[in-house]
Symmetry: D2
Subunit: 346 residues, 4 copies
């Protein structure tokens, strides 16, 4: 059994790691940290885990944790994550970092969008962007994975085949995303209180959201030259799920059926990508509680536009599920172990 | 135009007072206070009021407010309210207090349940419990009204006719209430954040909720001797509304139809009580955004039990709406002025 | 008092007309029709209206209705509406048609998108598209108003100033809309049942929604030449509200502040359009239960794109509220009569 | 691998059986029936199961099904279920019946509450009421299990220890239950449409709900003499979960701690019952998507009343989960196989 520790376990990504890993057959959770809840039992904070875990939160003391585990999930605020990743990585441990600290290849871009200097550019160079559908080979060989952001995961999986195959114009991309409220984290703040979110819907961070450079970096790599995008996130009054609606101009004539075929081809062996039949479209509820990315699309012949729709669970494929998928790949476990999940509908 | 001020205007009861009073034809809002938001425009906090109000929050400085208004709505935390009510009342102003500070006649009971001494027992003696269906005559003659709690309003209107007419046994009452989340106020706290309340349902404060002595005081007055009750509140994942299900043993044989007749009789002239026909039951959505208390019932012949169900909007009939109704009565305005509202369904 | 009748009053647009008109000081509702609920009291279907209305649903018998009212609101399915509108209009009555039957100027376009022939092209020529912010003068002079669709209202008010002033490229418009579920009407269908919509989110009708030609017609009139758009509607798990996110390429350099100024200028005298300050964005909850269209925006300087966000209540400004606004204009009433509403938050 | 068939697989209980059984390591689903969806692929109706199942719905033809499976889950309307259960049972198959047809021991009581004659009293005599916490031994030995109703499961597990140990008065019981909307089934009906349920809350079927005799039968068996109860169900605007609040008079003095100890004692070895610590209360969200019944309680010393609160997922412990638990027991599988589930919070 692989011993794993979770650094930053009192948020939603953390509690999902606890839940999923407690059912994973190849690992044992040996430590979970939280500064604020240090000394409290996990089930005090998370009564839904009662009966499955007998752990206490402890403070993040790297030297002590070092002896407890061989793989570390980092679910810390950015900047704080940098340091901890460097610590464990440089001591020969495996790390999956759920923060944004090792996603942007260029430290200057990181500093521009996160207003923080990157102190470990050499580790940054080793880090692999953990989107298995694109980087599985590299993930297998690394000890440090930068787990993708939730919005980028849904956007990139929706654009990858079309852009890679040169079917769309890279300069025309509009990404309109709608995320469930757990994406904002587990926190006390009036704008995320029940009465403020329920029966509401709004856009936020237009043109300024920090996932923008992450999406652009990866699209640029796929495309070969610099891509800029219009990205608008919205806050949905549901607990989980991101639906992303993507608009891009088609280079030539192409039917919906033809596009779907290309996507199906490229994702044929992927255990967590499901391409829908023509006429069907994804719904966040179909992926809730699962590690799937569902993809549907429609060509608008009147305007020459491809409209792709993707759905993920922001806490699974958008965070903790993908983190476990990355661990499975790194450690040579079965890629679907612990992630064999179907949405509990309704 | 009557000049009114709202002390404590940055919560939900306060924002509803602002909304409803800005449409009231007999009053003008001249001041609204908030310590935390002092200096900010009302519409910054409450963009839904844009275009209807051009006020700024100010700190609660009694001497200054005194000159600005003739009637004061107090929407302050308990204890803080005591002092402000006393200040304005003793300077000949009219006051409607939405806090619990002047509801309990016995200062010792107040101190027991609220862990605070009552410093103004002489004002307490003057205060009228503002349930117009029972105390309209007294409200007309007072200058200080203790606006009832939300749970008590729904419970008392559901029990008043049956208890007053001696149809039920007073020792058997179970009051099972379910409240929308705005009842918890506008605040930053993880347990009231969207993801914690949405798709959840739970009881809280069993046998210990502070509205218990308030309900018992009023039932005891109606009944003539001391009444104790079982009261359990629950938290509903809706913004507004309280549904209260009341169980009490019938003294003799009585049909649902007979009971309904008694209720209809007693509430015949009430503008804000609607008694349902046999076979129909209230729903919180039918009273949302209105000052109505809807009442339905069913006699369980197999067990000799009367089951009464009432529905109110906790922010209207359970708080700000009833406060305005009380103002209308005190000031001799038409009782329904500013409250001529129907639920915007769906 | 103007006598008004509602043809098709058992849906959500109908029940909102009943609610709002029962509080309108210049009109009296004299008849309401429903084939399925004929003979039942309105309050049986809509208990939230208890106490405010004492009407029964009757079947739509034009000859009988003719004597009962002088203005008719049509809330019927398309095709059925055509005939009824023609009947009342040709008998000198005033008509506000909430269906799509008289919105598209070109009968061929109507037939293409609605698969129904238009039988009354001469009435169609007289009909004015009832968007008061653009066509107020014409509405004043007509007897037949085609009340705009819900999506077109939000899209057109968001694009009108920018397109009219030549600030954006007409060939680049993406309209991504999200509508509350009441937009689908009051109907028994599994896909709209609570468990299927709650905690879900999905796109539908990509590139094929019937509001597309309506939006394109009006944009083309504003622009002077033919405009085609990409329009995607989504289904939101809220009762009411449409948020529309619009992307369009700016012709030159322009700041958010400059754009906002142009919008504010054009909508300065509009009682139901609220333009937000820079940094603020609309939320459907701020317009719920009101006739407002709230507008915010942001220029993405990196991509040269203007992103406009609008919010309306689909049942008010998107249907019944705008219908009453149109009636008020046609009949010379105060334009805001019966529509002096603020959102009951939360 | 045990071959199992699901009769009536297009509802919510059916789709949960499909989902959970497709992940169960001891069984293989060989057939699933639906009259209305016959010939359609399961994933057409339930896209969330895409990738996990390659089955088509077939009509319920008993002779054909007989050869396909050895254990049958019946998720049919009552009356229809009777016949199918008899057919498979009398042909030596194992049956778990999710309908109400074999729950009531007395055919006369069944006929009174279900308005249907019971045609198979001899099979009825063999049927075991499938509440494993009480009847595990009998379940092991039978071939036909009557799976309990959702409300009875939550009510009985909450009352069993207190009643069995003689701690409460049997004549005083009030059961106030609140159920998520999936309890009403997957159906097209206006009262269960999104806009009618969202932001609503109401009681229904007071004193007349069909689960009343089922609860009374089992309480009477535990108590030794006839028990009648007051039972009121309510409809919650959540997809899943039943919270039941139970009031009963204590026979003597007893603290909350003492009661909890008795409950913990009796449920010590139960894999699916979790008794909360004093001060904590269940929430439906903690059991969502799981087979747990969570139990908390509080003694109201002022009134001598015990208040018990239980939470289950109506589709799991209240239906399909418990059905699989019963199958596991009958067939000698590990009781928790396929049910090792934790709530995906939030």
């Amino acid at each position: 059994m692989l011993k794993v520790a979770i650094c930053g376990g009192s948020g939603y990504a953390g509690s999902e790691l606890l839940r999923l890993l407690s059912l994973h057959r190849e690992v044992k959770i040996t430590a979970v940290t939280s500064e604020r809840s240090s000394g409290r039992k996990v089930v005090e904070l998370f009564p839904h885990l009662m009966g499955s875990l007998d752990l206490e939160f402890e403070p993040l003391r790297p030297e002590i944790l070092l002896k407890k585990a061989d793989l570390f999930f980092m679910s810390l605020p950015h900047a704080a994550s940098q340091e901890a990743v460097n610590f464990f990585y440089s001591r020969k441990k495996h790390v999956v970092d759920l923060s944004a600290d090792f996603r942007l290849k260029d430290p200057a871009v990181y500093e521009e969008w996160y207003s923080t200097r990157h102190e470990y550019p050499s580790v940054l160079k080793k880090a692999v962007y953990g989107l298995p559908e694109i980087y599985r080979r590299n993930i297998k060989k690394t000890r440090v994975v930068a787990n993708p952001g939730c919005y980028p995961t849904g956007a990139l999986l929706g654009l990858y085949p079309a852009l890679k195959e040169g079917l769309i114009e890279a300069g025309s991309i509009v990404i309109d995303s709608k995320s469930g409220t757990s994406g904002a984290g587990r926190k006390a703040a009036i704008p995320y209180s029940f009465c403020e979110v329920n029966e509401s819907f709004r856009a936020y961070g237009i043109a300024t959201h920090r996932h923008t450079p992450e999406i652009e970096q990866e699209l640029s790599i796929i495309h070969g030259t610099q891509v800029t995008i219009n990205f608008t996130p919205h806050l949905l009054p549901v607990n989980r799920g991101i639906l992303t609606t993507i608009y891009c101009r088609l280079k030539g004539d192409a039917s919906t059926g033809h596009l779907l075929e290309r996507y199906r081809d490229i994702y044929r062996k992927e255990p967590f990508v499901r391409v829908y039949d023509e006429g069907n479209l994804p719904d966040v509820r179909n992926v809730r509680g699962t590690n799937f990315c569902d993809i549907g699309m429609k060509v608008n012949q009147r305007t020459g536009t491809l409209v792709v729709v993707t759905a993920i669970d922001n806490l699974l494929k958008g965070a903790s599920g993908q983190a476990i998928q990355n661990m499975n790949i790194m450690m040579g476990f079965k890629e679907t172990e612990g992630l064999n999940l179907l949405a509990p509908l309704p």
